[in-house]
Amino acid sequence: MMTSTRARWPEWLLRANAATVYAFLYLPIALLVLYSFSGSRFSSVWGGFSVEWYGRLVQNDKLLAALGNSVALATTSSFFATIVGTAAALGISRLPRRSRGAMEALFYLPILVPDIVLAIALLAFFVLVLHLELGLTTMILAHVVFNLCYVTAIVTTRLRGFDQRLLEAARDLGASPWKAFWRVKFPLIWPGVLGGALLAYAMSLDEFVISFFVTGPGSSTLPIEIYSMVKRGVTPEINALATLMLAGSVLLASLSVLLQRRK
């Protein structure tokens, strides 16, 4: 049809634009991964296939300690955030319409606020008001704040499709509220809960700005280590570390998305 092609944007222009964008998005990532396997010290020269830099990572005690901190922080904060966040989402869904909107907005604010603002706010609060020693504890307290909001947002979305009459039916058939929840409601929302937990875990693992402000001696995380390594200068070891972290976060995020799409 003549008319339909005339209505559209020139296809070659759209294709060229899309190709440029995807190259722009993925070229840096591809080169990073490629050079992590290069035997050369210089990122512009290919030095033959090598896993030397990965080997060096395994022997780096400082990085291994940071990995331990990262995992401990992500596990603890996502655990608490999942429980508190899921409960909050269930509570929000029971609110009357008008207060529900306001409460949803409140639970969305910490995600919206620029991370640097939340970071200085928490630092000032810990130091000036609570007089806490900065370290893993303050980092966990801080991470639960945004993690719990991610969980609440995801479980709230999941709950939107829930038919309240199913619960009433269960109650009519003699189930206690507790039993009705675990046997009827929870099986329907668990993909959202697990998806939220995974997202929280990934977010916590990747988070840098807030951790950077409320960290203390000996509680450095992987992103904080990368930051100080990058500040000191570029080394091929960072390529290997970055590649591993990239693989980890993409895997976690994909799992989370798959769970959320589950019917």
Binding site: A7, W9, N17, L25, A87, P114, A121, F213, M245
Partner: protein, 290 residues
């Protein structure tokens, strides 16, 4: 018989108790570790500069924030924010159009590919750009290969250009996300109808497609602008000390010497005001959309 409709008052009270118990922990957590800290920033911005602060009412941080050096930093953040937002919009709009017009499976894959970099660690991606942009990096080799470089090194790293590239890279998905949502709802038969009625490409874009997708585009622009204006990691690592932006300046006043928490707090207030205006504008747009 069990009452199924109107519950007895006692049941309502226990229902309310259950709601409060469910909501309570999360609400209190946010009250103590989100609302209170933000209030503390307000207080800090109004306190006297000390080690790190002296609790005495003092408006001088806001006076220091009006210093010409500060004005230059705020202006630079604003300009880089506007420019990255512009590039994201000009590139993201046709990209989203391209994605939406594919078949369902390809569309989902292409959309997913735009969002994937967001799931990666920002430091990792910025680091990837550092290796490309630094002297002796691949971009320099490329420019030399084209014969565009003169004597000396081509250093893009630690210039506003590097910050602009980094910001565009990191925030482009935030532009595509709302655009995709609004373009997916668009009925593309309208474009054919417009063509049948004699509209040319430009007219059917300007008079039919664009007006319908303005809310998505505006939401994307606000999202990208607010975040670039408030960004810290990208300008800190790619811009260095010569391209200081607001986020890095706040970080330095809090963690580096000379410390000035009240000034940092006052500038954080500016960020909150910008964010508030952005959220308000998006709300107005979405209400108008229905």
């Amino acid at each position: 018989m069990r009452p199924t409709q109107a519950p007895v008052p006692g049941a309502t009270r226990s229902e309310n108790t259950a709601t409060a118990l469910l909501l309570g922990p999360g609400f209190i957590w946010l009250l103590v570790l989100f609302a209170a800290p933000i209030a503390i920033v307000v207080a800090v911005s109004l306190a006297r500069r000390g080690m790190p602060v002296e609790w005495a009412f003092d408006f001088s941080a806001y006076a220091r924030a009006r210093d010409p050096i500060m004005a230059r930093i705020v202006w630079r953040s604003f300009l880089l924010g506007v420019m990255s937002t512009g590039v994201c919009a000009v590139v993201g709009y046709p990209l989203t159009y391209f994605i939406v017009r594919r078949t369902a499976r390809v569309r989902y894959l292409l959309y997913f590919l735009v969002l994937i970099p967001l799931t990666a660690n920002s430091l990792v991606l910025i680091y990837a750009w550092i290796t490309l942009l630094r002297p002796t990096g691949l971009i320099e080799h490329f420019i030399r290969g084209l014969g565009l470089a003169g004597e000396g090194t081509v250093s893009i790293l630690y210039t506003p250009w590097a910050v602009g590239i980094g910001l565009t890279y990191w925030y482009l998905p935030f532009m595509v996300y709302p655009l995709y949502a609004s373009m997916e709802r668009f009925d593309f038969r309208l474009l054919e109808a417009a063509a049948d009625l004699g509209a040319n490409r430009f007219q059917s874009f300007w008079r039919v497609l664009l007006p319908q997708t303005v809310p998505g585009l505006a939401t994307g622009c606000l999202l990208v602008f607010v975040q670039t204006f408030c960004s810290f990691v990208v300008p800190d690592l790619l811009g260095g000390s010569k391209t200081l932006m607001l986020g890095s300046f706040i970080q330095q006043r809090f963690l580096n010497l000379p410390q000035d928490w009240p000034l940092g707090g006052a500038l954080a207030m500016l960020m909150i005001v910008v964010l508030g205006m952005g959220v308000w504008a998006v709300g107005v747009l979405q209400r108008r959309e229905g």
